[in-house]
């Protein structure tokens, strides 16, 4: 099981090498992996159809309690089979479609990684690994949609898909964690097996909303549907795979998976039915009013995703049966139709349905499979799509709430979809011949294999529905419902209400198809007008808003004015320090003058006077001179209070400083008043606050001593260990010699810097 999931990643690593060895047939070679996976999953069918489930656990991060757990029951087996079977044909198809593409190797690397992530997602038993694979599908699909990375539109669409799905998955993570908190386990099988009712839990509302936000964005429900049609910027094999059977179904999978745990509440049903039915109608509408073949198919996928969501929401036994059938039928026909769209695009050079016609003569096989798949899409007998559609209508007619409204919505959507089916299968092949940019001819076998297999399977399933039913579908229904389900799939149910409705949709759909050439431009104009206030417009406005906020914030915070940076730093530092000091510590403004001598008073006064004078004088010389006075006063303090070494050093350095300032500063302009009085007042206020905080800190610090000083060690050991009598010197050159080495290093660096700056002439840099 572990190997089944990880083999995709392993093969992806080897793909560039394989591509180099086998060349153009790489698609066929790589397809061996999903094909063998499909065989492996098929071998699990007997076990699962008897109602069993496989749970395997591998320790992954035992310290964090994260296991790599896998769960195979009916639902995950259906998904795993779809992913591996369709994946097999997609890889073959992609090998032929992208034949000779310079980045073919890279394409297969991402494609295989995506496939492996998707398998991991549907087979995960642990919520955390499920989330990890969920994110992996987002990332790999981003790379796939933006595969044509030199096209700015593809990049934009890929980013849009990524943003929408990852925004949802953030919510999903919160939802999954809430779920784990509610049930006390991260294991899906544990959550599904637990009998505690989650509905009454305080976190139930939050968990449902968060999980659904993730599922709805991933599965392109209104109002997040817009990223899916835009994702058609991807190469067609990607669209065929991601947007028929896999990526967008991840959200559906999650809802179906958690239905037994979170479902059967009013909130869950209402949300799912509401969003699902709106998405269904909106998707069908856009599908019918688009003209690009891939857009048409993409919107019809949106419509199906809505249908699936709605059916989970309805939640009756019949609805869940219909859910599983629609899921399988859709994956089969949509995979086939996308590949046919790829063939048409590849062979004719256009994606526009209005420019294709009469291709049936030159491409008879493609036309045949397109018709089979489209019949399934339209829900006509004897295809599997018919069974699915009949079940759906029956389920809606017998739904426990909103039955009439939902049935009407489904019938309207089905009518439009019948028209869509005509658009993709009848119009390109059987209408009057139209000149296309490329001379069309029949597709190569590699491209035909997928549509052929998938459409024939749809036919076989339609004729003999008991085959898939007994194999996996019944088990899948059981896992969605949480209780055993008895289903009865049959092609012919006799004349009943669903059949009548089917007939109605068929007739209306054909009429709609005939009217399409005249209707489409008008519909498309309506859509363009509506798009200005639609969710996509909101998305773009939101993204622009983020850019604006980022720009504004950068202008405010990173304005390039040193004074502002400094002001903020000083105000924040001293503000916080002062607040903490006043709030946490008693402040004593003590001024004990008893211990001071009169000449010390004099020095203190001199210090203050020099500091103040150097700050307020308008004369550069006066400022530098008062700095000298200040430095010498500091030296006097050092000398008076037992620090002769400091005094000597300070005297030397101060002399040098004054000399340096006099030499350099007088090549600079005179002081002028640059700031306004208000700015000066503001700076003065900040400076006074800072000075006050420093004074308070010193006064507070003088009162406390938290730790024993380490000075005693140096005093005691200076003579015995280091043979020195000046303790300060011994510390510098012996005990802390490495620090002094660092200091010398800093000075040397400064000297090198100064030297190079003086050597370089300013003009040199600007010579052309």
């Amino acid at each position: 099981m572990l190997l089944a999931v990880l083999s995709g990643f392993l093969l992806a690593v080897l793909t560039p090498a394989i591509h180099r060895v086998v060349g153009h047939t790489v698609g066929w070679v790589l397809a061996i992996l999903p094909a063998s996976l499909a065989v492996y999953f098929a071998s699990l069918i007997p076990l699962i159809s008897d109602g069993g489930a496989v749970v395997k656990e591998f320790a992954w991060l035992p310290g964090l309690g994260v296991t790599l757990g896998f769960l195979v029951d009916g639902l995950s087996l259906v998904f795993a089979l779809l992913i591996s079977v369709i994946g097999t044909f997609i890889l073959i198809f992609a090998g032929a479609y992208l034949r000779g593409h310079p980045y073919l190797g890279r394409f297969f690397v991402i494609m295989l990684s995506f496939m492996a992530s998707m398998l991991g997602l549907v087979l995960s038993d642990n919520l955390l690994t499920l989330f990890m694979f969920w994110e992996l599908t987002s990332i790999t699909s981003y790379l796939l949609i933006g595969f044509d990375h030199e096209d700015s539109n593809a990049r934009k669409c890929a980013l849009q898909g990524l943003f929408v799905t990852t925004a949802g998955s953030l919510a999903l993570m919160a939802g999954l964690i809430l779920l784990a908190v509610m049930t006390g386990t991260y294991s899906l099988s544990g959550i599904l097996a637990s009998s505690d009712p989650l509905h009454e839990h305080a976190f139930y509302l939050g968990a449902v909303i968060c999980v659904l936000a993730g599922a709805f964005t991933k599965s392109a429900q209104v109002p997040f549907h817009f990223w899916l049609p835009n994702a058609m910027a991807a190469p067609t094999p990607v669209s065929a795979y991601l947007h028929s059977a896999t990526m967008v179904k991840a959200g559906i999978y999650l809802m179906a998976r958690l239905n037994p745990a979170l479902g059967e509440s009013m909130l869950w049903s209402t949300l799912l039915v509401l969003f699902g039915s709106v998405t269904m109608v909106v998707g069908a509408w856009f599908a019918f009013s688009s003209s690009g073949i891939k857009k048409v198919l993409a919107y019809s996928t949106v419509m199906t995703l809505g249908t699936l969501t709605m059916l989970i929401g309805v939640g009756t036994e019949l609805a869940l049966t219909a859910f599983v059938c629609v899921l399988v039928a859709h994956s089969l026909y949509k995979g086939a139709l996308f590949m046919i769209a790829g063939i048409l695009d590849h062979e004719t050079g256009t994606k526009d349905l209005r420019r294709m016609g009469g291709l049936g003569k030159t491409m008879p096989l493609t036309a045949l499979f397109a018709c089979l798949a489209a019949l399934s899409l339209a829900g006509m007998p004897p295809l599997f799509g018919f069974i699915a559609k009949e079940l759906m209508l029956e389920a809606l007619l017998k739904a426990s709430f909103w039955s009439l409204g939902l049935t009407v919505a489904a019938v309207v959507a089905s009518m439009l979809v019948v028209g869509v089916a005509g658009l993709v299968a009848v119009r390109p092949f059987f209408s009057a011949f139209l000149e296309t940019p490329k001379k069309p001819h029949e597709a190569p076998p590699g491209m035909l294999a997928g549509p052929a297999f998938l459409s024939v399977v749809a036919l076989v399933f339609g004729l003999a529905p008991y085959l898939p039913e007994t194999a996996v579908l019944q088990a899948a229904m059981t896992s969605v419902a949480g209780t055993p389900v008895d289903s009865y799939l049959a092609l012919w149910h006799g004349v009943n209400a669903p059949l009548v409705l089917s007939g109605l949709t068929l007739v209306t759909g054909i009429t709609l198809y005939r009217l399409w050439p005249t209707l489409q431009p008008n519909l498309s104009a309506v859509n363009t007008a509506a798009a200005r206030i639609g969710p996509e417009a909101i998305y773009f406005r939101f993204m622009e808003g983020i850019t604006h906020i980022a720009g504004w914030q950068t202008r405010v915070l990173q304005n390039g004015v040193l004074g502002h940076y400094l002001l903020v730093l000083v105000a924040v530092t001293f503000g916080l320090a002062g607040f903490t000091l006043v709030a946490r510590h008693e402040v004593h403004l003590a001024l004990d003058l008893s211990g001071s001598r009169f000449y010390e008073w004099g020095i203190a006064a001199l210090l203050v006077a020099a500091a103040v004078f150097s700050s307020i004088t308008r004369s550069r010389l006066g400022s530098v001179a008062s700095l000298g006075v200040l430095g010498f006063s500091v030296a006097l303090i050092f000398i008076l209070f037992s620090a002769p070494d400091l005094g000597i050093t300070q005297l030397l350095v101060e002399t040098l400083t004054v000399v340096l300032l006099v030499l350099v500063l007088f090549k600079l302009p005179e002081f002028v008043k640059l700031s306004s009085p208000l700015e000066r007042f503001r700076d003065l206020a900040v400076a006074i606050v800072a000075g006050t905080v420093m004074t308070l800190l010193i006064l507070a610090g003088l009162e406390v001593q938290y730790f024993e000083s380490i000075s005693a060690y140096y005093s005691e050991n200076s003579a015995p260990l280091a043979q020195g009598r000046n303790i300060v010197n011994v510390i510098l050159v012996d005990f802390r010699a490495l620090d002094t080495l660092g200091e010398i290093f800093v000075l040397a660096l400064a000297a090198i810097g100064i030297h190079s700056m003086l050597k370089l002439k300013a003009e040199d840099q600007y010579k052309p």
Partner: protein, 115 residues
């Protein structure tokens, strides 16, 4: 004496920060000098000020006789004085050079990287 010096150091810090907030680049350097002096004094004051007892060991003794001033802060300040001088020399030359190139001493004018 320490409490008196606490006020002096506070005033020195205020002057230093006020000067560093000026727009003239020369005043920034003056603020820098004031700041390093006040920081040195701060350490010195915090360690406690002792009169007439330098941390020296007389000939023949193995340890200082009686209480002497704390040697450790002095070692720190000695390092700080020298480093501050290095930084000062570097920054003075740097602003001189900046002035040569951008022809202004107003910091608010020096906010583009591609002057």
């Amino acid at each position: 004496m320490e409490s008196l010096m606490a006020y002096v150091v506070g005033i020195l810090f205020a002057a230093a920060i006020y000067m560093m907030l000026r727009r003239s680049i020369v005043k920034l350097v003056i603020g820098l000098i004031l700041l390093s002096n006040s920081a040195n004094l701060l350490i010195f004051v915090m360690a406690g000020m002792t009169r007439g007892a330098p941390p020296l060991i007389p000939d023949g003794a193995q340890a200082p006789l009686g209480a002497v001033a704390d040697p450790l802060p002095q070692a720190l300040i000695l390092t700080a004085i020298v480093i501050a001088f290095g930084v000062l020399a570097f920054s003075v030359v740097l602003i001189r050079r900046a002035y040569e190139i951008v022809k202004t001493d107003d910091l608010d004018q020096m906010k583009d990287t591609d002057t």
